[in-house]
């Protein structure tokens, strides 16, 4: 499922971060948990996507020390919430259209 997931990775990451700030590993674990292990995506490709979202102003990040470990924590920005709402609308429209065709 590598290609379809990549096409929607930004929206998926924004959706995970909508639940609260998290570091990269936690984001990936949550993505895996919510998808029921359906996405076979190299974990390392999530970080470039997070950096891209940060440059686009949709997420912000800062270093924090958690349990003695220095970690980069990501959080959703207001712009990110708008982008997530847009992604959800677009996906709902797309899914509805595919459903209509497949069930016809």
């Amino acid at each position: 499922m590598d290609v379809p997931v990549r096409d929607h990775l930004d929206g998926l990451l924004l959706a995970v971060l909508a639940a609260g700030p998290a570091h990269g590993y936690a984001v990936i674990e949550e993505l895996r948990r919510r998808s029921g292990d359906a996405f076979d995506l190299p974990e390392g490709t999530v970080y470039p996507a997070l950096h891209r979202l940060e440059h686009a102003g949709q997420v912000a990040s800062r270093w924090a020390t958690v349990a003695g470990r220095r970690r980069r924590i990501y959080r959703l920005t207001r712009k990110g919430r708008s982008a997530l709402a847009r992604e959800r609308r677009e996906w709902a429209g797309f899914a509805e259209a595919v459903e209509a065709v497949l069930r016809a």
Binding site: G24, P42, E43, A49, H51, R52, H55, A56, R70
Partner: protein, 216 residues
């Protein structure tokens, strides 16, 4: 094993300095946490992906970022130069010829420079609107950069020729030759500054394309 992975990834990353250090720190933190959870560094690295794959994705992300900066720079430069041209045209000493009778060799250069600056501005704005489509945004960078470079050169030549002609015709209040050359040089330097992000965007994109090609 994690150290070896980081050593392989580092030179493949498209950025240097603090940006590279940040990526490597994040990757190391991830791999150590993952290895702790899985009980195997080898498995953590397998799940993370080959260094070439991860670096190629960072190159793509870098190309997108550089393209955005280039588009903003082109839009600002195009608008700034066009505005400066319009202001300069209206603050020069009165032309020693009737309106609409500007010598042809000045007239076409002025029109071409203004059109070029406006085209760079339009390409920058269009690219920003199309930023989610990298190829379209890159095409806008290329078009805007070419328009800006051409307009800066033609505009500078026009200014130099106009100043020379004004002096020959004895028009008062014109810049000295040295001042005119300085203004023209400054205009070209500003254009080059605006073109630098465009060059960086194209370089980063070529690197991203090469990284993708290496992966097959």
């Amino acid at each position: 094993m994690i150290e070896r992975y980081l050593a392989e990834l580092a030179p493949l990353l498209p950025i240097r300095g603090r940006g590279r250090r940040r990526i490597l720190d994040e990757v190391e933190d991830h791999l150590r946490e993952s290895a702790g959870a899985l009980g195997s560094e080898r498995e953590a690295i397998r799940r993370f992906g080959a260094p070439e794959v991860v670096a190629a994705r960072f190159s793509e992300a870098g190309a997108v970022q550089a393209t955005r900066w280039a588009l903003v720079a082109l839009a600002l430069a195009g608008a700034g130069f066009a505005a400066a041209g319009i202001v300069s045209e209206n603050t020069l000493p009165p032309a020693p010829w009737a309106e609409g009778e500007t010598p042809g060799h000045l007239s076409w250069k002025l029109d071409a420079a203004l059109a070029g600056f406006l085209l760079a501005f339009a390409a920058g704005v269009a690219g920003i609107l199309l930023r989610r489509r990298l190829r379209a945004a890159l095409a806008a960078v290329g078009l805007g950069a070419a328009a800006l470079a051409g307009a800066a050169i033609v505009g500078a030549v026009e200014e130099l020729e106009r100043a020379s002609l004004y002096r020959d015709l004895g028009v008062a209040g014109v810049y000295s030759p040295a001042e005119t050359a300085l203004v023209a040089t400054w205009a070209c330097a500003l254009a080059l500054l605006a073109l630098a992000p465009a060059g960086l965007a194209l370089k980063r994109t070529l690197r991203a394309v090469a990284g993708r090609a290496r992966l097959g």
